[in-house]
Amino acid sequence: MSQSMSNELHQLGVAELAAKLAAREVSSTEVTRHLLARAKAHPGLGAYLALNEEAALAQAQAADARLAAGERTPLLGVPLAHKDIFVTRDLPTTAGSKMLNGYFSPFDATVVTKLADAGMVNLGKLNCDEFAMGSGNDNSAYGPARNPWDAERIPGGSSGGSAAAVAARLVPAATGTDTGGSIRQPASLTGITGIKPTYGRCSRYGMVAFASSLDQAGPMARSALDCALLLSAMAGPDLDRDSTSLDHPAENFASNLMANNARQSFDKGQKSLNGLRIGLPKEFFGDGCAPGVQAAVRAALAEFEKLGATLVDISLPRTELSIPVYYIIAPAEASSNLSRFDGVKFGHRAAQYADLADMYQKSRTEGFGPEVQKRIMIGTYVLSHGYYDAYYLQAQKIRRLIAQDFQQAFTQCDVIAGPVSPTVAWKIGEKSDDPVANYLADIYTLSTSLAGLPGMSIPAGFGEHGMPVGLQLIGNYFKEAQLLGVAHQFQLATDWHTRAPQEFRT
């Protein structure tokens, strides 16, 4: 293989790589070697927490053998990397926390197993906010991940390492998890595509738990088509291992998109989204959203109109309430989930302690970072005697009202669109002294998570400081195929999703 071709391998997305692998124009081993070398050439991004060098090459060789034997499955031999919140037997899992420094799980997460079974090659584990709590990846105990568009800025969070790695062309796709926006927001801030499916679509087995009634896995990649290919392999019932996994059959989310992937022959005048009604919640287009973000989102919506879609004004009246409701429910569930870290069977144990109670306290205080401690405190308080009804129960009731607001909205439209984040990526350290400001920045993603709806972010251009802006698309329950199809039509007509940061273009 020529040097020039090798230099282009990292520019290929999942579908393009899969096609070249299937045509035997390139081997999985070549791609894997190339991407491992590229990861090592960019340590400053802080994207990877662990590289899987030897095992990845063995997996690539196994994939090449299967390809040589004539096997053809959609993801065979394509590399990916996992957010370090998915447990793995053969690689350490930290969840971005000192608490789990050096931890090896006795099993693989279901999502990890499913993608391995699909023939994907695991290049390693990616940085994230500690226990997925954060919107900037600056709460990682292992240092921040950086935005490939501007290394002074955050890549978003909590799936910040996943977003940075995909945007910098270190890997064609990565897994992420989304509890209140942790796939959509980093995808938006780094100019990539990501989808959080309906709550319960992907198994939570082996995802280090943050807030169990909200946590959901999803793919992050460079296009809706690539996300569809991954989601088809990730989703599906896991009834014996995850009590909240839905008994809803897996779908091939990519088949319709593959059938209609003729980018070169795409007719600019074609009305491929004729009849589609896109709802615009007025609460998502207020003064709180930066002008550059609004402009990019409006331009993307105009593009959808050109494709035949109709824009409809709708209202999600409890959008602002979603902030306190989420920041009661998620910390409450987190405080319960994180009570398992007691320094006994796994995780950090303090070196010095007086007795058992002191060991618990010192181990937890040393192991958890400040944001995690704060959320444990909030959660412990709102679940404590005398406060449960006023906070947790009241939040769960308003959660139902928020979910019902969406059902009301979906009587007027097919999908909902708006910004993902009120601003472009901010500078590392800029917001850390103002925790409430961090929470307010999640305003456009929280309600979708509370309602358990599928939501995605697709690149929609650039805003302030030349930084990427994502368009959020929200669908009704189980409408991932529709969402991905709508996003795909947009990506056939536009090229925002193909843009790469200057430094990572070659």
Binding site: P106, L239, E320, I328, G347, D355, T365, Q373, I376, Y439
Partner: protein
């Protein structure tokens, strides 16, 4: 309603966290800042509204499942204890609990 330093100490004890004075002050300030934005929840009339735990229950019945009460996992004591802070002869070590 604002929290005070005694509240922070009580919550920290329940959460098994040990906050020194500076830490406790910062926590008090941050929690009170946070609960300011929570107040708006009180004004919402939720009379007769059922709490929502599994989100798709808005749309369809979500049944809680129990799997068969049968052994499904092999014994893998070594893998389970690989990341334990202290083990001896296959047992997890903890400080003495009963005198």
């Amino acid at each position: 309603m604002a929290l005070n330093a005694q509240d922070i100490a009580r919550i920290a004890k329940l959460a098994r966290l040990e906050l020194d004075a500076a830490h406790s002050d910062r926590m008090l300030h941050q929690l009170n800042g946070f609960f300011d934005i929570v107040e708006q929840m009180n004004a919402v009339d939720t009379a007769g509204v059922e709490p929502l735990a599994h989100p798709t229950a808005v749309m369809e019945q979500v049944a809680l499942r129990l799997r068969d009460d049968a052994v499904s996992e092999p014994n893998q004591r070594e893998a389970n204890q690989r990341s334990a802070p202290a083990v001896e002869r296959g047992l997890f070590l903890v400080p003495k609990v009963i005198e």
